[in-house]
Amino acid sequence: MSAPQLDDLDRQLIEVLARDARVSNRKIAGDLGVTEGTVRGRIKRLQQEGLIAFTAITSFGLTSSAKMAFIGIQADVESVREVAAQIAEIPPINALMITMGRFNILAFCLFDTLETLIELTSDKILAIPGVHHVETSIAVKTMKYNARVVRITEKGGPVDDEE
């Protein structure tokens, strides 16, 4: 992967927008001493290159289930991509990666009750052909969580068309 070329202005923009994405281009331009056109163009480029995305982050339990679990999965090596893609489609799964380690798929999910978690892991995931073993561990306390820096898996997104 080639490293993206970011200059100081890009980094300042990312920092400002990571605090509040709803600041107007005009205000950002004023604060950083550049033109609105520059701000608009930079934001568009960063979005198109998949380096930033604008979204809403909500606290646990506001719009979704309040607890998190880590699901480690051992799947057939030769079909790991297909199996991983199938699991990623299941709605409560909010993150999934193929890994090298004690599991070859690692998934994260949000859940409300142990029944819904068991249904997800034992009924849905374990029933997928190619899945051999599932281990779940529940997050009981969060010590650190940076939701601002992520892997953006879908490039682009709605482009900022603010006048």
């Binding site: 604008f54 690692l106 650190k144 969580y145």
Partner: protein
């Protein structure tokens, strides 16, 4: 936390619009949902003021020069796991640290600029933290989905 903050269907619909495009104007959201821009603005502010919502730019690991993502499970021995986790959370490479049930006691997401940073991080930094019995890394070779848009939110004043 024990607060009585509640949201209705309109709030949820606004949040859904913001998840799709956090930079959508109040007017655009209002048009999509059949509301007024003033209503949209008021409702967003109410959720933000209660520290239940942040509308932000998230940035890719690569924008910060991080090219390796790793999950690290840690087994603790002879020290409270919360103390070990708190100490590990101080490292900037640690993006998430949770106390978990099961075979291991702490589960972390760790990022690196390069694989060559791994020995230094594991052998010189993390291993100096007292109470770690074993570390089990899993290196992400492909990330299919990554939607951590639900998270503990800090108060505005801490930003």
């Amino acid at each position: 936390m024990g607060d009585n903050f509640s949201v209705d269907d309109i709030d949820l619909a606004i949040v859904e619009q913001l998840r799709i495009n956090g930079r959508a104007t109040n007017q655009q959201i209002a048009n999509n949902l059949g509301l007024t821009a003033a209503t949209v603005s008021t409702r967003i502010r109410r959720m933000e003021d209660a520290d239940k919502l942040r509308v932000v730019a998230v940035s890719d690991f690569s924008a910060h020069g991080y090219n390796v993502l790793m999950e690290l499970a840690i087994e603790v021995d002879g020290r409270p796991a919360s103390e070990v986790a708190a100490e590990l959370a101080e490292f900037p490479e640690v993006f998430a640290a949770h106390l978990v049930t099961g075979r291991y006691d702490i589960d972390m997401l760790v990022v690196l600029r390069d694989f060559s940073d791994l020995p230094d991080l594991l052998l010189d930094k993390f291993s100096k933290v007292r109470g770690i019995r074993s570390m089990m890394p899993a290196i992400a070779v492909d990330v299919l989905k990554y939607q951590f848009d639900v998270a503990p939110l800090e108060a505005r004043s801490q930003q």
